[in-house]
Structure formats: structure tokens, C-alpha cells
Symmetry: C2
């Protein structure tokens, strides 16, 4: 007979500290009970976590529990259902033991949630609930012996619910627990309830005590002191747990020997046995049965893991040991005190750690259950979503044939993705396109517009007829534009969606909206560098709610895309840019749902979906030559026959996040520039100072800069409002694209870099124009040759042409710090795209603080009754114009000087007046000759007076500002010559 079977002769039951479904279904547990003398089972959250997440044994039950419904049932309900099933079955297996021992043994323990360790009432309620749910007399509810646990224990025992008090480390707490038991029994007696129907064990923990005290002892073991401490800490290693337990047992004995107990016992009360827990040896240097052998004696239980059971069966020695070595036990506990080890602190720490040790696996289990729920819940949606995707495909084919053009095949490849998003994963509200507390979708591959229109139409968000596609007046345009209210940013120039998605995600973060942003890209557009600028920004800014989905259909417009279906290429790239990636079959709805679910965490995430262009229609699928071509009617009919009718029409119920935190805008007080006249301050600095001031009263003002904030002077804002400043590094396309995303999400973004580098983002600026943002300010500093020594690559010479060309844009160009501040103030309040041009060198302040600068206005700086000529200048050239005025005045020539700070809209009235009143106009600007202020003035004046344009017309060089203004004919001298030439 092995050692285990002998234990019972010495009054000790052994239980097992593990329970899994496999143990039950395989017959292992039954075998242990019947043949190996096992008399009880304990469980805890950690044990269930291992069992449930480590095996597939629970999956079928989980799937059944999830049912067809959505949203998923509460994971705690699922947890309860899973564990009570096991516990109930285990109770039934142990029932014969329970019956044979008249309720002394044969128990199974189930722990309440570790999150309740400090909640008395909740513990009581959950214990009642679990006891009812399992509905077996041989069930122990485990309640930790925390301070909050004590009254719960008493109450539950009073109510006749068996309690295994767990997490006991100290003798004192054990005694309190025993007291609770006594009181509960006494209350039952008073209430006339039977005493023999309630049981309890007090679980006293062992090995963890040694782990911690040994650590403390080792702190005291050092060769670096000559005088050894007393007692020698070395000799005490691995002894505290046993010593403590033996002393606890003495308390137990005192209690059961008390008259108080005897009185209860006489009424049938069962003894509250001591249960030794945490009995596996942690230190491999120690005996593997060290927590079993010395603690054998009457009225005890030892609950062991398999390994310890096996070890003890193999070589455990059995005799009554529990009362041996009590002197040593006392010596050990005294010794700890002598060495300065406060055992009270030890046990308190262990109690805390014990709670934490269960919370962690419990939470992990809940998370894992949530994952599984989602998966099964998804599975039930697959069939329906497949049908939805089929309907979307039918719509795509029909509407493009009707339109006679469009991109059906590019839409078919992503039909499943769009179905999964719009009809399952995305939380959105088809009744409210302006809602912000929702997930957002950005169709970066804009040519797939038909699939978007189909989804909006199917879901009930848009009621327009799909056959209006591409027809004048329809919001279903060839590529998405905000004419359709569901479109946040116009797309169709590829590679731009992700940058906008960055901006939307940033705005969500600023406003506390937990929405996700889904951006659907094509594989072909991943050749655009802007995608990688955006990818870098997203990971640097930890935009975890951003999900890029790449529709890798492998075919571009003119042939295969560079990497065909090699999804791993895209995965490696996104990874190298700091993203999580998931590669899937983009037509497998279940895989899609799973990927989307996984993408909820740990983002930014790129889902790389392998798809077929033209998917769903045999003669289109993966066939080159169909890009951007609609089917004729005959082919359409064939396609529709293949796709079949599903009869499904799935609308989307509104799902909103309900969370949004926005600061109310206060009225913005007018800025007070506060410069001295003549003070030399660069306009770029004036801009920076104004931004910082505006930041205070405009909570929606956000600023982006491309690693030149100490040149553009956005650094003032950045330092003051770091959360509203976004360092965009040297990546101007993403700078503008992200600003646009912010702009369409209610922010007022100001994006700044050198004027010349805004040309890097011209396509983004162009598309921003088509996106019609409420506010978007772009500031270009270092305009013109006046920057001097850095040379032509750093000179903004095309910027006025670029921004003037944009329909509806505003172009402002201050010449001094006052106008710079004023125009910055105006810029952030002016609707649409506003371009603000600033200058590198310092220029003298010429305006008073009170000066007003309306959009579309100008300033006549010098004027007299007999002005013969007019000089129109802006920015840096205003100062040369004034100098020329003075100089010409000395020569008797009177010249009107106009500061055309509003380059667009231009102050036509003032210019026309000058045209009428003077004999010639010289326009002088630090910009290429064509497309700038000169063109603007010439076109506006429309013929009444000669207009002479002074501007940069030959390749600039490095040199001083003065040299360059002179060299390029835009200096004071050049203006004078031009005026004299009229003469």
C-alpha cells in the first residue's frame, strides 16, 4: 500500500489541487477516487484558466453558450457555466466519499471571483449563487480569509453554505477564521438550524511562505560581515512554513479542546479541519514532499498537485508528525523576529500576492473567453455575411453597367471585406453620417467607390438609387467625394487614405472617442511612398485604433502589381514600419471576422488580405484587362446569374460608442500683437507667437510640423500644448494628409513647413481641396529668394501659384509681425484651405497693433493726391516698395504703395482704383514670375492700365538676401527702374 493510502489512518485526507474537464471525462478523477484514496478536489481561477485556454475541451460548450445572438453573452456567465459544469460533475464523482464519510470528506471546492477578495456582500452573493447553481451538498465555496472575507465566511456558514477558507498565511488570521466558524455554528444553534449540515476547512498556505522568508533570510546571508547574526539565517532556510503551520495546528487543537467547541460538537457540529495548501516544493534544493511529511495528523487535509501526489506516493513517509518539533517551530518563529523579519508583514504581503495570483489568470481567462465568444459569434454571422457580400457584388455589377464605366473588378475583390466591416465589425449609425462616436471607414482605394455605395445603400444609410452612379447630381460619384455625406475625405488619388485615417484617429484620441478607423487600401497603391509615411506616423504615435486592410488582388491597371499575391511582402513592410500584421484570405469571411477581432487590440494593425480582382464572377476573377471597365448588358446578366439571388437584405442597427469628450470653444478674443513700430521681427515668428496665443482659447486648434518647428516657429505652440502638437518629421505628404483627417474631424489644424516643401504634398493639398474641410491652414515659411544662403532648393517660389490655383482657397502673405499675427488669427477662422506665406528674414514692424486685415483687403501704405504710379507688393517686397517710394519721392515722383497681403481673394476694388488713378502698376513679388501676385493683379485689372511684373525669373543662387533681391530684380532699385521705365 502506498504512502497516500496510509494518510487516512493518521487522520489526514489528501485532496488534489487541480481539476480539468479531461480529468473528469477520461475517468482519471474517478479512478483516483476509487483506487487511490483521493477524498477531495480544490480548484481556483488559475487552474481553470489553464484548463479552458490550454485545451479545446471546453470549446463546444462555449460555442453552444454563445448561441446565435449578438452581442455575446457576458463572459462571466460563460465562465460560470463552464466551471460549474465541471464542479458539479466532480461533486458527483466524489459523492460516494461524501456519503461514506457522512459528509466529512468528498468535497469539491469552487472559488469566488478573485476580484471579490475585498468585498463582503458581493462575496456572499456570489457564493450563494454558485452554491445554488452547482446544487450539490459536497460543494465547498472558497472564500479568501481576508478581513472582508471573515464576515462573509460567518454569514455563509450560518446559512448552511460550506466554506473552504483560502489564502490563510498567519496563525492570527486562522484563529479569526475559526472564530467565524464557531460564531456561525452558534448562530445556527440559536436559530434552531441543524449543525451537522454545514462544513468548513481552513486552508493554510505553505510553500509561498518559504519562498518569501527565504528571500528575506538570504538578504541576511553575506560573507562580507565578520560577526554572524544570531540565529544563523542559513540554518533557517526552508523552515518557516512548516513551523508556522505546526503552530497554527496548536491553535486548532486549543479550539477543538475548548468547551465552547465541545458544546457545538455535542450538537453534531463538524470539526473545521486544517487544510494544507500550496504544498508543492518551489525550491528544487528542498525535498519534494517537505510540505506533506511533517504535517500529518488528525483532522487535517493536504491538497496537492499531481506532481506532489506522485512524489509522495513514491517516497513519502507516513507517521503522526504534526505535533513533532514544536520547540523548533517556536524557535524558528522567534529567530525570524530576532533577525528583524516581521512575519506579520510576510503574511500580509503573501495575502496580497495571493489575490493577485488569481486575478491575473482570471482576467486572462475572461479575455480568452471573450476572444472565443467573438470567434463563435462570428461564425454564426458568416453565412449571412457571405450572402450580403453576394448582394453587394450584384449591386456593383449592376450599377457600373448602368453607368457604362467604373471599376467593378476592383470593387468585387473587396466585397467580402466591406461586408465584414459594414455589416458586422464596425460600430456605426446608418442614420447619422455626422456622428463622431463611431468607427470610421476610409476608402483609400477610391476607384472601388461602387462597393462603398453598395454597402451604404444596402445598410440603409443612403437611399439614393444605385443606378445614379457617375451621373451628374448623384452623390455616388466615380470616386468618393464628400458630396456623399458618408465620405470624410475625397479619395481616388491613391495612397492618401491612410494619412487621413491618421488624422481621424488622432482626433478620436483628443476627444476621448474609443472608435477605430478602418482604412481599405489596394496593393497597387502601396507603391506610393505616402503609404509608408503614414504607416510610420501611425506607429510612432501609437494609433492603436487604426486598422489598415490591404486588398491584395494582385492586378493593377496595366498588369500584375509588383508583388502579385505575395502578401508576405506587405506584411514584412508593415512590420518593419512598426505595425502588427495579419495575413488572411480576403474572401474567407470567418478569417476576416477573426482578423478584425484580433485587430481590435495591439494596433496599428495591417490586415493583408489575399483576394482576386473580379471575385465572384468567373470570367472576371483574376483576369487581366478588366481594370476600370464596366460589363456590357449581356455580360452583366451572365455575372448576375452566376452570383445568384440571395433574398437577403440586411440593414444595420445603429451602434454608437456614446463617448466623446470635447472642450467647449470659448469666443476667441482678438490678439494683441504688441510690437514696437520698426522693431525687426520675422513674419514666421509673428505666426508662431500668434499660434501660441490662439491655442489658449481654441481647444480645437492643433498644429503639425515637419521637423522644422524651430524654423517655422510652431515650436512655441508645441512647447505650450504638446498634446495638440504633432511632430510629423520629414514627411510632408503625411503632414498634410493627417492635417486633413484632423480637419474633417472637427479640429482646426495648422500644418507648417518650408513653403518649398509644401510642393511635396501638392497632390494631398489638391485632394484636400476636393475634400472641402471646414478649416485647414497650411503655413509655408522661408518663401522666396530672400532666404539667402541656403540656395534654391530651400526657396519657396512656386507656392503662390500652387495655392492660388486651388478653387476656393485663401492665400495670405503678411509683411510684418503685426500682420502676421492678425492674418494667422484670421486664417484659423476662415473656412476652407488657407495658405499663409511667411518670410525667413526679420522685417521691420510697419503696422500698428490696432490695424485690421480683412480677407480680400489690402493696405494702401503710401498714397497722395497726385500719385503717378502704383507699386503692388506683398511680404518681403513691401519694404523695398516703401523704400522705392521714398527714393522716388525725393526725385519728385509720387508713387502709391499697396500691400496686397490678401493675395487671394485679391482686393480688386483698391487695385482698380489705383489703375484708374495712376498711369502704371508695378507688381513686385519674391516668387517665380508666373502664377503669383503679378498674374493675379494682371488678370484682375483686366486691361485698364499697364501692369509690369517684377518677379524671380532666373535660377537663384546662394547669396545674401540683399544680393539676391537685387540679382532677381525685386529690390528697391529694381522697382525704381521699373517705375522710371514707365515714365
Amino acid at each position: 500500500m502506498n504512502a497516500l493510502l496510509k494518510l487516512v489512518e493518521h487522520g489526514q485526507s489528501y485532496w488534489i489541487d487541480n481539476l480539468t474537464r479531461r480529468m473528469i471525462t477520461s475517468g482519471e478523477l474517478e479512478c483516483r477516487v476509487r483506487r487511490e484514496g483521493l477524498r477531495g478536489v480544490t480548484s481556483n481561477p488559475q487552474i481553470f484558466q489553464k484548463a479552458i485556454t490550454g485545451t479545446k475541451d471546453y470549446d463546444e460548450q462555449i460555442e453552444n453558450l454563445v448561441g446565435g445572438g449578438r452581442p455575446c453573452p457576458d463572459v462571466r456567465e460563460i465562465y460560470e457555466a463552464l466551471v460549474t459544469t465541471d464542479i458539479r460533475n466532480a461533486c458527483d464523482i466524489l459523492r460516494p466519499v461524501y456519503d461514506d464519510t457522512s459528509g466529512l470528506d468528498g468535497y469539491v471546492s469552487l472559488e469566488v471571483s478573485p476580484h471579490l477578495a475585498h468585498y463582503t456582500e458581493a462575496s456572499i452573493e456570489q457564493a450563494r449563487h454558485l452554491f445554488r447553481l452547482v446544487d450539490r451538498p459536497n460543494l465547498f465555496i472558497k472564500i479568501p480569509g481576508t478581513l472582508a472575507g471573515l464576515p462573509a465566511i460567518e454569514e455563509l456558514l450560518f446559512e448552511g453554505i460550506n466554506v473552504n477558507i483560502t489564502l490563510l498565511f498567519s496563525v492570527e488570521r486562522y484563529e479569526a477564521v475559526a472564530e467565524a466558524y464557531l460564531r456561525a455554528l452558534e448562530r445556527r444553534r440559536e436559530a434552531g438550524l441543524p449543525l451537522d449540515e454545514v462544513a468548513s476547512v481552513a486552508s493554510f498556505f505553505l510553500s509561498r511562505i518559504d519562498v518569501l522568508t527565504d528571500e528575506l533570510l538570504r538578504h541576511r546571508i553575506t560573507p562580507e560581515v565578520t560577526r554572524r547574526p544570531e540565529p544563523d539565517p542559513k540554518t533557517m532556510l526552508g523552515k518557516s512554513a512548516i513551523a508556522n503551520a505546526k503552530l497554527a495546528y496548536q491553535s486548532f487543537k486549543r479550539i477543538i479542546e475548548s468547551d465552547r467547541w465541545k458544546a457545538l460538537e455535542d450538537k453534531g457540529a463538524r470539526v473545521q479541519r486544517m487544510l494544507w495548501a500550496s504544498t508543492s516544493t518551489k525550491n528544487p534544493a528542498y525535498s519534494d514532499v517537505m510540505y506533506v511529511e511533517p504535517l500529518i495528523g488528525p483532522n487535517t487535509v493536504n491538497t496537492m498537485p499531481e506532481k506532489t501526489i506522485d512524489a509522495f506516493a513514491d517516497h513519502g513517509a507516513v507517521r503522526d508528525t504534526i505535533e513533532e518539533g514544536l520547540d523548533e517551530a517556536n524557535a524558528v518563529m522567534n529567530g525570524l523576529a530576532k533577525l528583524g523579519i516581521d512575519f506579520g508583514l510576510v503574511t500580509a504581503q503573501l495575502e496580497n500576492e495571493g489575490v493577485q495570483k488569481f486575478i491575473e489568470p482570471y482576467d486572462a481567462l475572461m479575455a480568452s473567453l471573450a476572444d472565443k465568444c467573438q470567434k463563435y459569434s462570428n461564425r454564426r454571422s458568416v453565412d449571412l455575411l457571405q450572402k450580403v457580400a453576394r448582394e453587394l457584388r450584384r449591386d456593383v455589377v449592376t450599377m457600373t453597367t448602368e453607368a457604362g464605366s467604373g471599376h467593378p473588378t476592383s470593387s468585387l475583390s473587396c466585397a467580402d471585406i466591406v461586408a465584414a466591416l459594414f455589416f458586422h465589425e464596425m460600430r456605426w449609425d446608418p442614420t447619422d453620417p455626422s456622428a463622431r462616436d463611431v468607427d470610421t471607414f476610409v476608402l483609400s482605394k477610391g476607384h472601388a467607390a461602387p462597393i462603398l455605395w453598395a454597402a451604404l445603400h444596402q445598410s440603409g444609410a443612403c437611399h439614393e438609387s444605385l443606378t445614379s452612379l457617375r451621373k451628374l447630381g448623384s452623390t455616388f460619384e466615380g470616386h468618393p467625394t464628400p458630396t456623399n455625406p458618408w465620405v470624410k475625405v475625397a479619395t481616388g488619388s491613391l495612397g492618401q487614405g491612410l494619412a487621413a485615417a491618421n488624422g481621424i484617429a488622432l482626433a478620436n484620441r483628443l476627444d476621448g472617442i474609443p472608435g477605430r478607423v478602418y482604412c481599405l487600401l489596394g496593393d497597387g497603391e502601396c507603391s506610393e511612398g505616402s503609404v509608408w509615411e503614414a504607416a510610420q506616423f501611425a506607429s510612432l504615435n501609437k494609433l492603436s485604433g487604426l486598422v489598415a486592410i490591404v486588398d491584395v488582388n494582385g492586378l493593377g491597371q496595366t498588369g500584375p502589381t509588383p508583388y502579385g499575391h505575395r502578401t508576405e511582402v506587405f506584411a514584412r513592410r508593415f512590420q518593419s514600419f512598426g505595425w502588427s500584421t495579419i495575413e488572411i484570405d480576403g474572401h474567407d469571411i470567418e478569417a476576416l471576422l477573426d482578423a478584425l477581432y484580433r485587430a481590435r487590440k495591439g494596433g496599428p494593425t495591417a490586415i493583408i488580405a489575399k483576394t482576386e480582382k473580379g471575385r465572384g464572377v468567373s470570367f472576371l476573377e483574376g483576369v487581366h484587362g478588366w481594370h476600370g471597365k464596366a460589363l456590357d448588358r449581356e455580360a452583366m446578366e451572365k455575372a448576375l446569374r452566376e452570383l445568384g439571388e440571395t433574398g437577403v437584405h440586411m440593414t444595420v442597427e445603429p451602434r454608437r460608442l456614446g463617448q466623446i469628450r470635447r472642450s467647449e470653444s470659448e469666443p476667441v478674443p482678438p490678439l494683441k500683437p504688441g510690437y514696437r513700430p520698426g522693431e525687426k521681427v520675422a513674419t514666421r515668428k509673428g505666426f508662431g507667437i500668434a499660434l501660441e496665443k490662439l491655442g489658449e482659447s481654441m481647444p480645437d486648434l492643433v498644429v503639425l510640423d515637419g521637423d522644422v518647428s524651430n524654423s517655422t516657429y510652431t515650436e512655441f505652440f508645441a512647447r505650450r500644448y504638446p498634446k495638440r502638437f504633432f511632430q510629423s518629421y520629414i514627411a510632408e505628404q503625411n503632414l498634410v494628409g493627417t492635417a486633413l483627417g484632423l480637419a474633417v474631424s472637427g479640429k482646426v489644424p495648422v500644418a507648417a513647413t518650408f513653403a518649398c516643401f509644401l510642393s511635396r504634398a501638392y497632390d494631398f493639398i489638391r485632394m484636400a481641396g476636393h475634400s472641402r474641410p471646414p478649416h485647414l491652414v497650411l503655413c509655408g515659411s522661408h518663401a522666396g529668394v530672400s532666404i539667402g544662403e541656403d540656395g534654391p532648393s530651400q526657396m519657396g517660389l512656386e507656392d503662390l501659384a500652387m495655392f492660388r490655383a486651388l478653387a476656393g482657397s485663401t492665400v495670405l502673405y503678411p509683411c510684418d509681425a503685426v500682420s502676421a499675427e492678425r492674418l494667422t488669427e484670421l486664417a484659423v477662422k476662415t473656412p476652407g484651405i488657407v495658405y499663409l506665406r511667411t518670410t525667413r528674414p526679420s522685417t521691420p514692424v510697419i503696422y500698428s497693433e490696432a490695424e485690421d486685415f480683412p480677407i480680400g483687403g489690402s493696405k494702401v501704405l503710401r498714397s497722395g493726391g497726385n500719385d503717378r504710379f502704383t507699386v503692388v507688393a506683398a511680404g518681403i517686397t513691401v519694404h523695398d516698395a516703401l523704400a522705392a517710394h521714398d527714393s522716388l519721392k525725393q526725385r519728385g515722383i509720387s508713387v502709391r504703395v499697396i500691400d496686397a497681403y490678401s493675395v487671394k481673394p485679391l482686393d480688386v476694388a483698391t487695385l482698380e482704383q489705383a489703375a484708374r488713378e495712376t498711369q502704371g502698376i508695378v507688381v513686385v513679388e519674391d516668387h517665380w514670375r508666373d502664377g503669383g501676385l503679378g498674374d493675379a493683379v494682371a488678370a484682375a485689372l483686366n486691361s485698364t492700365v499697364p501692369v509690369h511684373r517684377l518677379a524671380v525669373s532666373k535660377e537663384p543662387r546662394s547669396g545674401t538676401m540683399e544680393q539676391l533681391l537685387e540679382r532677381h530684380g525685386i529690390s528697391r532699385r529694381a522697382i525704381e527702374e521699373a517705375i522710371l521705365a514707365f515714365g
Copy 2:
């Protein structure tokens, strides 16, 4: 006594088939010779490859051989020196055997290059050379018994050079070899030369024969046939080699028993022994001494590897066996024939494979020696290059302080890289900046210009004073521009260099120039997406000569770069874009040289160099806040003291590749458009057709397209001249950047995409302007709202403004297929940047084939003596203007119609004439209102007549062309109304 020592009693010597320096220096070889009866050594290229590349035993000698010189000595010379050293030493160790056996034994064999197996004369020469070089009588030169080898063998033997004939597989060839020996001896006898001073062995190969014949036999062993072949192939496995060798020995015996031989032997001739080679057992199922035991007999040698020697010593059986089993041997050979195995083919194949088996390790050894040479050669350069780098740093500090601005710290971080490139790795010619048969350097991080100027100055390429930096007139500008003749493309807008490098590399490939292109990037600029567009293009186009060097100094303008010194981030990214990568310390010259050497192969390669900004000056190194700031004089003096003076002034000797393959341009005959008047052909198609025609007579014409070649119609060219067409996918920045690189390398590039998408590359276009390429044509198709249904994102509406603004640009805009062809023809011949705007819809041909379209011209399409008004149109609007003319004419209003196909330069004379002769001008264009033709005309006319601009001024929608022209007021009707409004 072990079996080996007994062999000699049976007339067989055993040799070892291995030789390493370690065997010699350790005494192992001597021990084998003195104690274990070893009587000879053979070697071959494979053996030396293992010895030389697998150990460090040769490295010291290699380093000495490399010496201080550059370029490295020929690796074959080094090889010879290494092996003849070993061979000579081995000969000396075996000399006692040679002497003791009177020259019968004690030989060491050295093989000629395996590349000479089929070259008689070269084999003879090399054998003579090696025999002289080793200068030992007991040397065998190994010559393969190929057909080309036979006469060489005879000649060498005649000359008294001992020959070991190797690679013998067939009896027939063995007999031919024996005949060569006989003839050589007979010729010596005739020439009166002694016969006892020349020796030979015939090496007959064994195991390889079994490997191959067994394979062929196994093809014939199958359970799937019922009737077994006869003989049973199974029974013949592993028998052919021995059978063949035994039969060869019978030939040997016949020869030495012949009278002819006896006559020679009488004169002292030594017998040409049979040598058994390839005697290690390959098939583990066979005995490990199977190629030794059965072939023991007089006048034989068995040359074995160590393993076989050990096996034979251990368990070999020795007796006279060579003449046993001759019947079986014949049966085996007959059996092979019966089974259809042609043994002649077997031996021929083995001979070929035998040669290959030596070529491979020989070549690998040469490559490995080249690597080692380079490494040692580099090491000798390190000290000097460090000093050069120090001098460059001194120059950088001095010149920026002198200039009072610039980027010293960004230059200091890459001083070592630049020193390694310009003064060591790059093959270039400081006397000729226009040379193309050289390596090219592109400074993508243009703000580090000072380090480039310093290198050009130090190397003697530029004689301008460095203190002219950033001064007006100096070619040492703030950022590199082609004002300095060494600068290919202007840089300073970051992230553009690599695309240009792509173009230069493509041009090199087209012209057969084996030059490499080095592009130096900063880590900060790797945030630019354009870098990754270029990286993708380089790997897709396998630009193996392209080397990107990233100067990861970890500091940007405003603070740390996004990834600091994490070079692995860049390495992973470049890898994910298909590049080889090498991460190094960018200040370790030796590591740099090694990386540059490795980058010569397997590119494109990115060298990711970890550096410190401000390196070399303690108070600048890695210190933030120094970006773009010059030191003051005091700080400069301190920096110079730290850097110290080296006294080194290293000029660079010209190194040119001397290879260039260019097709001569023929005179381009004028195109013959050949359309019918009124035929409807889109101008984009006319452009495509013209390109294809021009391709024939313009070998330098190259075309690039961004995956829209079937829309732009560059597909015609692509199909006809695929090698001159570069698919650039959806990456317009790289499209333009690569075109620029081609343009500055003598090509005439035409890059095409939708007009709107050229806005994506505006910064590249801007910088191309500053780069002043001889020719660069950009074609934008799908201009304006006339594209119709695709909607605003696809409409080029800013392109005229963009291109007009560029100083020196030409902007052309055809309205029909004839003018499209003519203007395409002109575009490729017009210097500088030419923009050609084409239209999507088909338009009627209005011009005759003979029509001429000068740049700066226009066409007056309708004109009469009494024109009241003028309509100026271009492109699509020309047709509406003509229609308006007709309609107004019916109403009695005479209107002049001008086709302003040359938007820039504009035909001012014709316009001024119209202004003088008519009362109002309407300009009508399919473009945004500002910056286009209207502005151009208004600015040009300068006041003489009212100019009314019709252009697109509100946001377009999807719709038909006709609807949109109407909606945006640029239709026939709108023109009429505008004319009528003049009243």
C-alpha cells in the same frame, strides 16, 4: 604491422589525397612519411580551397602578398604563391622517399587551373611555370586526361616535366595517355635526352563511376515489371568501378609487356604507374575499403583521403588482388551494355563533372582570395583615410564658420563615409566631371554640401576656394546644385536622391557602363515616402550597382530622429523592400571599406551606418541644438585644435571604367501624322503614337509610366521598346526622380501619368527645374473636367499653373492628334523641362499633316478682316471655340479663334495683334481659373483690351464631358455668352 605498410610489399604505394599548411607545419605529414609508409601526396583545387578559406593559416602570407599597393595583385598570383609554398615544403618532406626509391616514389602533385582542361597550350605553359616555380624534382604536375590534355601531357613529359594524368575514367582514354607517355619517351630518346629523369602516373578514378552507374542501374530496378531484366541490375550495383579498373590494369600490363615499352625500359625509362583515385566510398552501404582491397598489385599507387587511410589501416586486407575476377569484370561491363547503359557516356559525363568539380571550388577560392585581398588592402588604407576624413572635417568647420551659416554637424557625421568613397572605393576621374564611365555619387542629404565641397576640393576636382561657400558666384552653394559641375542633380529637398540614383543606374545599364551609383542619405529623410518608392523601384529593377548609404546620426533639425541610432529599423525596412543590407559603425573606416567592398555584389545594397552628428568635435558630437548652425570663430579654433593637423593632402588618381556602349543618334526624320481631317482621335493617343515613332530614330529616348500606360498610351512605346520602357507603378515621385536621373545621364526621358497625379511629384519637378536637365518631358493626360465620369480626383486642373510657374519651362497643349504628334516631336527636342498636356476624350483632327507648330507659336484658326472679338483656347476648348465661332457667325458676330497650343512661352505677338484688332478677348480653358492660360494671356497682354477668363471655378462632379463643360462655363454656349456680354 598495419595493412598500409604491407601494401608496398605487393607493389603498391599509398599516397594521401590531401594537403594543408597545417599538415606541414604541425609535423603530421612528416610523421606519416617517416612512420606510416606514406609515399606521396596529391592535391587539387578543392583541397586548397578548403585549406585556404577554412583556416586562418594562410592569412599572414596573404596579407604580406597584398602589400601596401593598390590595386590588389592578381588573385591567381596569390593563389600560386600560397600553393607552391605548401607544395615545395611537401616535396622537401617527401624528398627522402624520392631519393630512397631512386625517383620511383616520393612525389607531390600540383594541379593546373581547372579552367585549362580544354586548353593544350595554356596547360603546357602553366605546367612549365609551376614546375619552375616549385623547382623540385619530385613534383608531379597534374594534367587532366582530356582530349586537349593528351598533347600537353606528351609535350610536358618530353620536356622532362613529371605529369600525373588525372581525371581518367575509361580504359580507352587510359590507353591514349599511356601512348602519350610512350611517345614522349620515344621523342626524348630520339632527342638524346635521358629517359630516367621523367616520371608519370595515370590516375584512374573509381567511386564516382559507381555513383553514376549505380544511379543508372537503379533506374532499371523496379517492382512494377514482372519480367526481370537480364542481368539483374541489383546484382551489379557497386561493381562497375572496380571492374573497369581491373580491365584498365590489363591494358597497362599489355603495354609494359610490349616490345615497344621494353625498348624504352632498357634505356632507363620508368614505368607509368596506375594510380587509383577517388577511392573514398560514397555509398555508406558499401565497404569503406572497397576501392582499395581489390586493386592491389605491382606498379600501382592508391591515393586516399585520411578517412580511407584510417579505415584501411584498421581493417584492410592485403593480398595481390588486381588480377583477380577478370571474368566477372568483363561480365559486369558486358552486363551494363546489355542493360542499355553506355559506359562511354558514363565516363564522358564523369570527365565533364570532374572538371566542374574543380572549377567550382577554384572559383570560390579566387573569390575568397579577392575578398581577403581587398580586406588587407583596405586595412593598409585605413590610417590614411582617417587622416583624410580629419582634413575634410577641418575644411567643413572652417568653411561654414567663414560663411556664417551651413550645416557643419550634418557634414561631420558623414566625413568618414565620404572619405572612404571619394578617396578609396569610387572609381572616378577628378579631371573630368562629365565622365560617364565612372562611379557616381549623389548627396541626397543635400544640407551636408560642405562635406562634398571639401572632398571635391581635397581630391583636386575643384580648385575654388572653400571659403567662397554660400557666397554669391561660388559653385559651393548652400545645398548642391549643378552650378557645380560635379553635381548631377540638385538636392536639398530631402528624400529625392535615391530616385535620381535609380535613373543614373538605369542609364548606366542601358549604356553598358559597369559603374556603381552611391547615394548618401540621412536617417531623417528616410521618413520621406519617396525613399521607399525609390527603394522598391531599385529592387524591382535589380539595380545591383546601386548602393544607398544611410548616415544614421540620430539627430534631426528639431530633436532626435524618430528611430535614433536604431540602425536595425532601417535595415529591416530596406530588407522588406528587397535590398541587401549591412549595418556598421559609420566612423570605422575599416568597417566602411569592408561594407563598400561587400556592396559591390548582390545589390541594391543599403549600408546603414551608425554615426554621431558633429563627430570629431567633442562639444558638437551627438549634441542637439547644432543643426544648421555654423561655429563662431572661437568655437571653430577650438574644434580645429581638437581635430589637429594631419599634414595629409591626398589627391585622387583618375580611375575610369572605360566601358560605354551608346548607340549613335541618327537625325530624327519629321513625323508624318497621317490622320484624316475630322477623324476623332484623342490627343493622348497622338502622343503615344508619336512616341513609338520617335523611339525608332532616337536611341536615347526612354519612357516611364506610373501603371497607366494604357491610358496615357505610352503602351505603344512600351510594347515596341520594352528595354527602354520603365514601369514605375503607382509612385509618381520616383517616376519623376528616376526620369531626372536618366535625363542627367544623357537620356531623353518622357514620363507620363494622369496630369493630376503629376501634382504628387511637384517637389521633384521643382527640384528637376533646379537640376537643369538637358531634356525632360513630362506628359499629363486626362486634363480637366472633360474626363467626365471619373470625377474630380482624376481631373488635372492645377497642372498648367504648376508647370507655368517653373522658371524656364515649356508648356504645350495640343488640341488634336496632328498637333499632339507634332508637339510630342518638339517636346523631346526642346531643352529643359517640357510639359505636354493631353486630353482623355477623342477630338476631331483639325490640322493638316503638313502643319508646323513652333514653340512659342499659336494658330489663328478663324480670322477675318472685321473680327470683333477674339477667343483664345487650347486643347479641348479649341473645339468649343470653333463651334462658338460658327454659331456667332450666323448671328453676324465675327470672332477670331486662336489655338494657344504653346501655353508657355506664349505667342505674345499674335495675342497683341488680336488685342489691337479686336475689342475683347475671351480665354477659355479646362483648368482652374487661376494660374492657367487665362492668367498667362492677361499678364502678357498688359492692358490693351479686356480679357475675360472662362475656366473651372467651382468643385466639379462626375458627369458626362458635355455636361461638365457646360456646368463649368467652358462650353460653346458659355463662350458665346461671354462674347455677347462684351456687347
